[in-house]
Symmetry: D3
Subunit: 338 residues, 6 copies
């Protein structure tokens, strides 16, 4: 395989009520395992990347179920630290129409939130790897996990790897101000920055809003924001998602990519949503794949956006779609293949 | 709790084919229990109301399943008369696109249709209660149940309670003419009248049509109809639903509220429907909650309509949504809460 | 019964992932049996036609499951040849939004693909029958099945029956060129031709394109194509489907019918799709029913199109809808029936 | 086909809780259709008999679902009268261990209970048929259905057909005394009598008990009872089931067959029960098949008992097992066939 | 109602894999809520007792789902403290044959484990109540919950209530030695003691083994153990379960009851197990019901044991069985009721 | 990891009807992937072995689903040849009581049956591996696959690896005579031979029966058969399963192990069967693990038999049980672990 990838992040048990039922009505949960960084790893594996995950997962049957779930999609789990008390989890109710999706978190004191930098043998974990990815969520869950991410970033840069972040704000986990404060010191390691144009943490960090009103959206409209980020933090490249929420079932979805000089805006997808969780991770994976391949900004923006679009149509967090399928979605073809 | 509520009505076993399958294809049914008045009681309990149900339910395992189902949502079932031969039921096929939802009723000779006024100890049933609610369906199912509703209305008025009706026409149960004839004598007890602007029974009773063409819909356009109802029957308040059916999956949905002097029209919701049954009951509950709280007409119209909108997004008849969720829907927010 | 119908074609086991899951994720399959010609037979039975199927199905438990599945909808299976090694099958993943539906075929060397003309006792199979129907797919699967279809066509014409074809191209089974070559010799038997206005095989056979751009669609716009078909091959009547694919969930859908002199275009349905497979077969059945009843072109076009529209709203291949339901859909009514 | 068979009886919707759940817990029901006589017809079809059903089933979607369900197993439903208000139904909870299975009936005033003799065109219904079967249940549900059975018996005897009864007592439907009184006049038509050795109705009719204690069970121990039945009512043959209930999951199961002179007792099966409903019908079908084939008493007893044994291992009422499978079960082989 | 009952204990979310699947294989969990004391309350409600639960459950959607689940069975949840961070949970894999059931606990730091005595208004919580029940598990989960139980015991004795304990050892939660140490100070309040004859904590507390080898089991064989308990701790009555585990599916099950002078041993049930969790709670409820009714020792032993036996046949923790059903099971009847 | 393992064999899609339903009734299939050699690999991975699979699997979505399924359990799939037309499959109906499990194979012309020796790069496939395993089934499916197995055996012996076979007869795939003929030339490579004591192929190859009547079963009773095998073919070790089939749900199960000098017979397990497929593979894996660890004959026999016993209690082919769980089952403990 031409490309490889290593990421650090938490994997959670996600307990989703079937058929959009309310949490208070549920008698059954669909059980999957996922987490933003792991989702990116799985999506990249579909394109031919060889991905590995660094995480901490308890050494019990639920932890094993989690590891089994991940490795079915070809992610190398040999770097996972198998210890800790519990796997974090959350309950998810998928919304419909005027009813938004809702999450009840039960992730405090998870094994991953209590990871420590010394639990990972960084030189051997990163040996022979080219790309290191993390997200804001891993920094949000605890100071220990932030310290571990920082250790990873330092080791990655020392090894000459490309480092990417997906900001991935979660207002239930921390305030934008706390987020900005904890993420700021990590920015020095980042080469490729990915996030939402409306990310409140990014807004605070850059001192400006990335959001552009629908009627004003052009590639150039996003240039000041992207240039500010690049100039302030020294990022090489930046990718941004642009989402308008019409209802739980229908969103408009677009993406921006800035390669440091050129900026491109993808075409707009009107999404009919099956499962929103993991949509942004699909975008991140698409953007990383574009960067890995050295595509031009329009290609990256279109591919990343289409990749995120498909991710919205698949149950679960993982975007199990091939490069050919993403390219077809980018080109707008949806006829049955038979 | 600040508010309480007692209602009389039938609870049916609803047998729904999974995944919109046709009745003729079904090998499985989802089983829930519901009925328009009970649905209103459950929705009100979510807002903090203490609700009780008067009904007649057989003293067998299916009757017990029904009672269990209701009381899980906090409805007081101690007033339910436990006797009779059978629980009424209906088969429901949820439609899709150009295929409408379809119902096969099997509710004749149900326990509730054979209830008699003397089976309820009215003074003790209503003691300490402030609000009495019934619907046209309970009058449609038999003369005995109509007589029992009438006895309840008299007792409620004697006890100084507020009385509300949801007209709730069902063309499969009676003709509009029969409906008008049987409901007319009960109007003297009604304080709060709720119904569809297109209700054919109401049309006959008032001698005018409540329906307004989409382009002409303003609050004032509904004033003549509401004023006629109030002046003819002495209602204090009136709430009306306004629905346009684009397909089984998509309806437009709006509401009107008239407090006797001011009239308001809610904003229009474009509904993506999960389960239409109970939508109107959500509206009724929202309107009653608004009246209980003394909100202004625009607030009542918006809350009732949003409450009905959410009810369309939840499997089953019951609208299990909090006041905060209804207010959020009224304000148009549908982003995932996490 | 006033009408009868006999058709020849393959019936496949269709293994569909539940809830639009990807094939690579599936742990369960919904199992139904269907095939384009059989689907037409079932749809016609709902209207009161007495249908029979000629096919070859193995004499094992899966073959019996297939026969049982078909005969529950009233199709006479006594003409089915019970021998051969295996029932053909395919795996289906129903798409969503930007993700198209996908099929993995495993139908090579099926019992039906190895049928031979002599396995059917044609005189007795067709005795007393009035209408013989086949589709392009049966010709695509093998030369043996094509020869058997040809034998059927000859016997049907000899018996004075009406013969219909649904072209039903499948690019995964043969190239348009191969299709045109193999179907051409059968055209002499055909009275009623049904297909897609975009059918590539038909395009080659007629040397012209049937597709008309959305803005230019009038009944007369399709006249040259239909007249060419009728004049070249001597068809009596022709029916064409017109589909625009906006996404996996949403298509526009219309139909054309030419009775040899008059041509009509149906109204346009905006479909919210439950299950696309069998949609065209619903159209074919509707068109055949219209021809059987001698309706005028507008009636045939509207009925066939509405019939196909309903077929898109029903899980599985079979369009189990009554004539009254199709007429209601043609007239645009979708309110819940209760 | 060498044999044919016509039977009259009610078909009910059976709503079973999944996984042995209690009725009071159920949120889902498995829906099948069955009835003792129809169950016999289906079981016989598996052996190659051409069966037909006389019944009354409402002309609505649930009635159609019922007809579809039956005809998938090859039963001719063209004699079914399609009218009446409702399909009878029952709720079934399958027991486990010390908890017995439980039934809640909701079958009063079903279409079949209101059938009348004149609704069936007896001469044409029975034309060309050789065997007429009914059960005590059809007589238990109403006087009208009893009268219709009587009309059928008379017509069958007039046509020279063999008539069989399965006594099939149901204590929830009538008392043994009522049963004896209503069945007695029909005995004159019966050639083949089938029942439980412990049937209380039969006990009253014959004035003696058929039950034999386990340690005393020999073929000859049942001779006095069988001879009394044959001498009193003029039956040609008699078949009796012998069951000991150890728990809901485990029964011992045996059968007796008396051909008027020789009597045989089958080997004893220790049953691990999947679904008890329809077990006796499997025995009846097995006995009838044995009589049709002129097997010797031991063969009939063994086949009928094994057929009933298999019926206990299949979900639903219908015993879909081939003659070869029954013979294998009779011989005691249970290894996986692969 | 003649009897009432209040209990304190934790309610957990129980996530069970369907169909005995291994935890490491699961893609779905059945979700119920239960806990030993709550299970006793539900079982008693079936007999006509009016039960209430004291617990601490978080004020989020999962907490509400839990409350809804409990109150469907008629348990008064108004005393539940609605605060805390999380609902404790456990994953359950139901065993089969040689494979034992397995539990993964994730209950640390649950809302209930952090309850404090002052969170409950004891005088008003216990006002008008006659019986107070707790179990060893509530003491095992934390010192705070033990202190709260102790406060409850003191208040109950002050109010003249009967106090019962079910020892209910869990080796995963504490060692027998710790258990003995923490439970010892509470014994002074206990009137009715319930436990396993093999309970290791009880063994330590009494300094003797309660277990009797199968061949030596008579009522009198258990007398020394019961008398020691009564004399050492001043219990009024004692009930003991006796279980032999042949496999995950098959246990032998018996019960002992000592009323302070007479001792009785129930008949032995050979259980075919559906769901073992809650079996002992069924026994406890049966014993308490027997004591409430003043039955003689043999009656109490038989009823408690049969009640526990039925509890093993029902999915979930709750024993939803009527007194009549328990009496039938005690008498050994398992025929289908129809 | 201390041990590694490479095996060659076919992986099939297994389509099982839920809840023991008959194939002719199924509307749904549970889909898993498995095959005897792959099953052994998965079971060994649970013990800590590093396993790899050589197979041929088509390069389509179903092939990918298969690969994903396998690698979730830690099997290295990088040696799998991804080409060919179709994945073989079979339909499985799990029996109950007197009804045996039944299989309908649809595996002809699968990708694996058309594998050729040259498709595998043997030196690199086997580099660094110590154990090579195959089974009789792979030889049964085609001459090409037999040739590939032979190539593997030669390469394995050349590399100094241990070679094992599980005879695994399938009467539906070949006759014992054909089996004996095709397997005989491979025996020269085999070190460890595993099979059923009743294997008809082995019986022919050795010219004697391995089966011993239940009353005569001692370790020494199997010695002549094992010694004959060892002396004729030069095996180092031999392990044999001993099964008595009481019903589909209940088998007795025992195992024999001969290390070339000592012979041992395990204790007898009375199995309550959840899923029989893969039971023998569990035994094979247990025997191989015992040999890898150099345990004594009694330990190997007990472990292998308990391992096979657990495999009968798990849905699907794979025996996902830890060494500790197998040891507990070998010692007879089945209490719930909590």
């Amino acid at each position: 395989m031409a490309f490889n990838f290593v990421t650090i992040g938490e994997v959670l048990l996600r307990l989703t009520t079937p058929r959009s039922e309310r949490l208070t009505q549920a008698r059954q949960f669909d059980a999957i395992y996922g987490g933003t960084e792991c989702n990116v790893a799985v999506a990249l594996e579909q394109f031919g990347v060889d991905p590995a995950l660094i995480s901490r997962i308890p050494d019990n049957d639920i932890g094993q179920a989690c590891v089994n779930y991940i490795r079915q999609y070809g992610v190398d789990t040999s770097l996972v630290v198998r210890s800790g008390d519990r796997l974090g989890l959350y309950y998810l109710e998928i919304g419909a129409s005027v009813r938004p999706s809702a999450v009840v978190y039960d992730r405090a004191r998870s094994a991953m939130s209590e990871i420590e930098p010394g639990m990972v043998d960084w030189p051997s974990a990163l040996a022979g790897r080219d790309w290191f990815h993390f997200s804001g969520i891993t920094c949000a869950i605890s100071e220990k996990s932030t310290a571990t991410v920082a250790a990873g970033c330092r080791a990655a840069k020392a090894a000459g790897m490309t480092v990417s972040i997906d900001f991935n704000s979660r207002s239930a986990l921390w305030s934008p101000e706390e987020g900005a404060k904890r993420l700021d010191p990590l920015m020095q390691y980042v080469d490729v920055a990915i996030g939402s144009a409306r990310d409140p943490i990014l807004g605070i960090m850059l001192g400006m809003e990335g959001n552009i009103e629908p009627d004003d959206r052009t590639a150039d409209a996003y240039r000041p924001f992207a240039e500010k980020a690049v100039s302030k933090y020294g990022f090489d490249k930046m990718a941004l998602t642009v989402r308008d929420i019409h209802s739980s079932d229908h969103n408009s979805w677009q993406g921006v990519y800035f390669d440091g000089s050129e900026i491109a805006l993808s075409r707009r997808h009107e999404l009919e949503i099956v499962d929103r969780v993991g949509g942004g991770d699909g975008f991140a994976a698409g953007a990383i794949w574009g960067v890995m391949n050295g595509w031009n900004p329009q290609q990256v923006a279109d591919f990343a956006t289409a990749c995120g679009a498909i991710a919205h149509t698949i149950h679960g967090d993982f975007n199990v779609a091939s490069e050919a399928e993403v390219l077809a979605a980018a080109s707008g073809s949806s006829d049955v293949r038979r």
